[in-house]
Amino acid sequence: MLMKSLYNLIFGSLLLSTLSLMGQNLTIEGKAPRVVEVGERFQLIYVINEKTDAPQIDIPESLRVIYGPSVSQSTSMQIINGQVSSSFTLTYTYLLVAEKEGIYDIQPASVNYKGKTYTSNAVNIEVVKGSSSVTQNPQAQQQQNQPSARTKPVNGEGDFFVRVLVDKTSVYQGEALVATLKLYTTLELNSFEKVELPKFVGFFKEEIETTTQIQLQRENVNGRIYQTGVIAKYLLFPQRSGTIEIDPMNVEVIVTERTRPIDPFEAFFGGNVRRYKVGNKSPVVTINVKPLPEPKPTDFTGGVGLLRLDASVSKNQLNVNDAINFKIRYSGNGNIKFLDNPTIKFPKEFEVYDPKKDVNVKITQNGATGVILWDYLLIPRAPGKFSIPEIVISYFDLDSKTYKKLSSGPFEVVVEGTAADASGYSSKQSGFYRQNIEDISTDIRFIQTGNLDLHAKGNYFFGTPMFWTLYLLPLVSFVIFWLLRIKQIMDQSDMVKLRTRRASQMSRKRLKAAEKYVKDNKDAQVYDEVLRALWQYLADKLIIEQSRLTRDEILQQLKNRNIDEALIEKVIEVADQCEMARYAPTAMKKPASEVYQQAVDLLVQLEKALK
């Protein structure tokens, strides 16, 4: 690319002179050197792509027209892949001379063509004071200048140099800057000997397309007119922050110099041509790269400039196993080519093919502008409602010097069909399209809702007085109960002792009374006393309440106490005899003394049995 342009610089371009094909719009373009010296002759050229009359021009007074316009025309034809394209140019050339310093605007030239008026661009010319080096010709100048040109050593220091020009020296990391590699010369270039371009360490570089031919332009540098040419232009994106140096460019060229003919023979052949080498190394250029402000957003992609994000799905509704396209488009101006790929969490049920990446970025003087497009092909393998999550990226906006957030989506996709349709896809292999549950990501569990079971801080039951009270209260109440119960049992056992003791005493008393009646022969009283002695004794011994004292109850209690049947029989016998004697004394066969004796024996036996 570079060498090609150098080649073209030296040998010029190839022109085909062929007849033209017509029919485009008319264009008219004015050209002139940007800088000229006072007294210097220069050309003002108007190029028109149709055959017209000379354009009407309005030239300021200080620029005198010496000659013109002269007319030339050319036709060029190109054949690319069998396609013939041709262009026709008509050139009107004026030869002017500048008479006064200043900046002059030549107003747009106008030309009539098929009843319409077309205008050219305005041409701007700067006229500077005449200096030594460029000796284009006026005779007066020649005499003044030549001695000084003689004395100056032609070593290229001032006559030839190269520079790396940058449009900014302080940029943010990722912000583009334009580096122009330029040469300046007052000498006539013959060929390039050596060209060492800077390496641009620490930058991503993108070459800016320039014309294939290096066009020399005239430029005023500190009052001196140089021919300048752009060797190359780069768009540079700093990769790191800090101070980055652009190392020098080293260029060596062969120049030709026409020496003044000394001997007439030489002069006849047009003078002596001397060739020699000159070289120059450009100074180091320092770029201060500022880091991007902290904190960077988590979704920062590295983008710096002005970006736009668009995303879309081709369909929102489809059947299982049909395909959809998902497109993400970054567009804008900035380091768009160096952005990270987007990371998208597609639903697990979607089969995702590697995206097609389409880069269409134009590198120009104003930065890298264009579009990057990722095209994903997705095939849903299960029915349901799915969502492709929102795509969020951040970039650093250079105008506002802040991070800006871009988002697109989320995209809802409804996949119709049944699981059976889905299984149909792989039925030949496994019969069912089934899969394990996979974690998409892990996160902590959600907060507890509701009233959170709040309670006063440090509220512990253990060891509190209430706790001990709950222990002591039942214990104490039991102890009290137990003491009362003991006393009751004690009391009861006392009563038993008392009654048994009384039983013997009472029965003995009654028996004594009976004995007395036996002696007195009062039979009726004997039976009565014996019977009462017996019942009273048994009631006391068996602890039977007076109210429940019946013959049956006593016999029952005796049986309960496992008293010998024979003894019970005796009790019944004595009781029967006594009762019979009381109510039917005549039927009584036994004498009272015998019954009395029998009762005494019975009581002795009972006393033993009821011990």
Binding site: I444, I447, L454, F462, P474, F478
Partner: protein, 229 residues
């Protein structure tokens, strides 16, 4: 509680700082619960303040050691801290005993021991009452078991209470802490530990904690470097 509802709304909408602030205000009002501490822990986790999150999860687990969600989130949070420690597990009987007394909160244990004691006393009442022999025969084994259970659970309740009340755990809150051999700045630095690590506190002297790590390392560190749980 109005704070709880607005905190929930803030948490759900992603404003974790506000949610944490509201929950902390509930705590400042003198309330607590394992669920409240768990929610505060979540708010800190979401703000990536892992040490604070661990501190509140530990507090939640102290109040309710069987809190499943808190255990899960604590485990996730502990995966984000610097220190990885090979824990030496304590003897099996200690582990069993701990798993028993931490299975229920201390108040539940305290109520249980009281209930069993009351059952024992009721049994004794029946035993000494002049009533049906059948009831008395049942009362004997019941009251014996109730007495045994009451004594056992009393011991468990006591351990559980001491576990919760004594501040025997600490969470490191400083990014890097030197652990020294003696409780003073002159002590030889033994090792460093980092933010979010949970340590056992075994002693406290003059503004210095004696701590023990799960792998058995012991050392001293200044009071202000950890928060007691």
């Amino acid at each position: 509680m109005p704070f709880i509802d607005s905190a929930k709304v803030a948490y759900t909408s992603g404003d974790f700082a506000k949610a944490a602030h509201l929950y902390l205000r509930v705590a400042e009002h003198g309330y607590e619960s394992s669920q409240l501490y768990y929610n505060i822990g979540n708010c800190y986790y979401k703000q990536m303040q892992i040490a604070s999150a661990i501190y509140f999860y530990q507090k939640a687990l102290k109040l309710d050691p069987s809190f499943e969600d808190a255990k899960y989130n604590l485990k996730l949070a502990q995966e984000l801290i610097v220190d990885k420690i090979e824990a030496v597990s304590p003897p099996f009987y200690k582990r069993w005993y701990k798993s028993i007394y931490t299975a229920l909160p201390p108040n539940t244990w305290a109520v249980l021991t009281v209930i069993f004691f009351v059952v024992f006393i009721i049994g004794m009442f029946i035993l000494f009452s002049p009533i049906n022999m059948v009831l008395r025969r049942i009362a004997i084994p019941i009251s014996i078991f109730a007495l045994i259970f009451s004594i056992l659970i009393f011991a468990i309740a006591s351990s559980s209470y001491n576990y919760v009340v004594n501040k025997n755990l600490g969470v490191i809150m400083e990014p890097t802490v030197f652990v020294r051999s003696t409780p003073s700045e002159e002590g030889t630095p033994l090792f460093t530990i980092h933010e979010g690590l949970t340590v056992k506190i075994t002693n406290f002297i003059d503004g210095w904690y004696q701590i023990r790590l799960d792998d058995g390392r012991v050392g001293w560190l200044p009071q202000n470097t950890l928060e007691e749980v």
